[in-house]
Symmetry: D3
Subunit: 68 residues, 6 copies
């Protein structure tokens, strides 16, 4: 399956915190840390666990830029 999202960052799940409807999934992407907020249902359906290899998909319209 190919996805239109311009940003497909390969990473590894480091931590998952579920609370009610939501879950916070922390990833390591190269030297960076990335957090995804998804539904707890998604975590169950994808059977996500620390150590899993995943891809973070981010639409280019969702990215802001900041310059120091």
């Amino acid at each position: 399956m190919r996805v239109s999202a311009r940003n497909k960052l390969p990473g590894v799940v480091q931590d998952i915190q579920s609370d009610g409807l939501m879950a916070k999934v922390s990833l390591r992407i190269g030297d960076n840390h990335l957090v995804a907020l998804v539904t707890a249902e998604s975590v169950a359906e994808l059977d996500l666990h620390p150590g899993d290899e995943v891809t973070a998909l981010i639409k280019s319209t969702s990215v802001m830029l900041a310059k120091p």
Copy 2:
């Protein structure tokens, strides 16, 4: 200034394509490539050029996860 976005990825601008109202800014983030679609006005206001150090800000609610 501190920002609530959970994801603040430091990178370097590699390429900027402007067309009408929109601009596509390509960044290098560690070993990854990231694309931000912003207004051409933002590129002018931030005076963005290839080589500039920037931070990509992404809300955790904007991140989808995919598992192979």
Copy 3:
């Protein structure tokens, strides 16, 4: 590949309009019409054409509800 997005709507591409950096892709989803605004680069990379079967992925946090 499994995706965390709660909304995965199967559809058929009906029309594609590209202009500069952006492309507007019109889909038929059952009896409904759906429009996706993606980069022209995505359309080229996915080799999208009218008649193609695609899936629209929409995060549940991106959906608003209106009641008459």
Copy 4:
């Protein structure tokens, strides 16, 4: 009231799960299932209940496409 969102999908509420600040509203849209994550406050304010006719509003920039 007319809304700029390109995607206005008419549906029927099937299920509502509230938990703390958030609520997950499941809709039937034709033959498809759609999930909206909204605030619990929105559910109260719109007085949403299973069986209600609602419209899902989705900006075209929030739609990703996937091709098998």
Copy 5:
């Protein structure tokens, strides 16, 4: 029609720039300035013109906070 979006800011259209598929609509909201990027098709369908009274709808999940 009632909308689940937590943020419904009443304003007046000040300027509209259309280019290809996209349009940038500038609003005055009280003492603030707000910009909405919508499709040119939306501008035509809503028959938007400077001086029109409109409401900006923004999901609470789309708002980032910054603190000096």
Copy 6:
């Protein structure tokens, strides 16, 4: 730090409700009320409290328009 977001609305925090992973931050922006849904972690990291002066950052692509 300069940010590409077209919408930077200065406001004052009026109320913060935290629940599990999420927090709802209510702001006063001029004569308007604005709600931001962020992670509880962001609220802690920015040390947000009622009375704090903050800026709401909103990408122009996240704004819908409604006309009566």
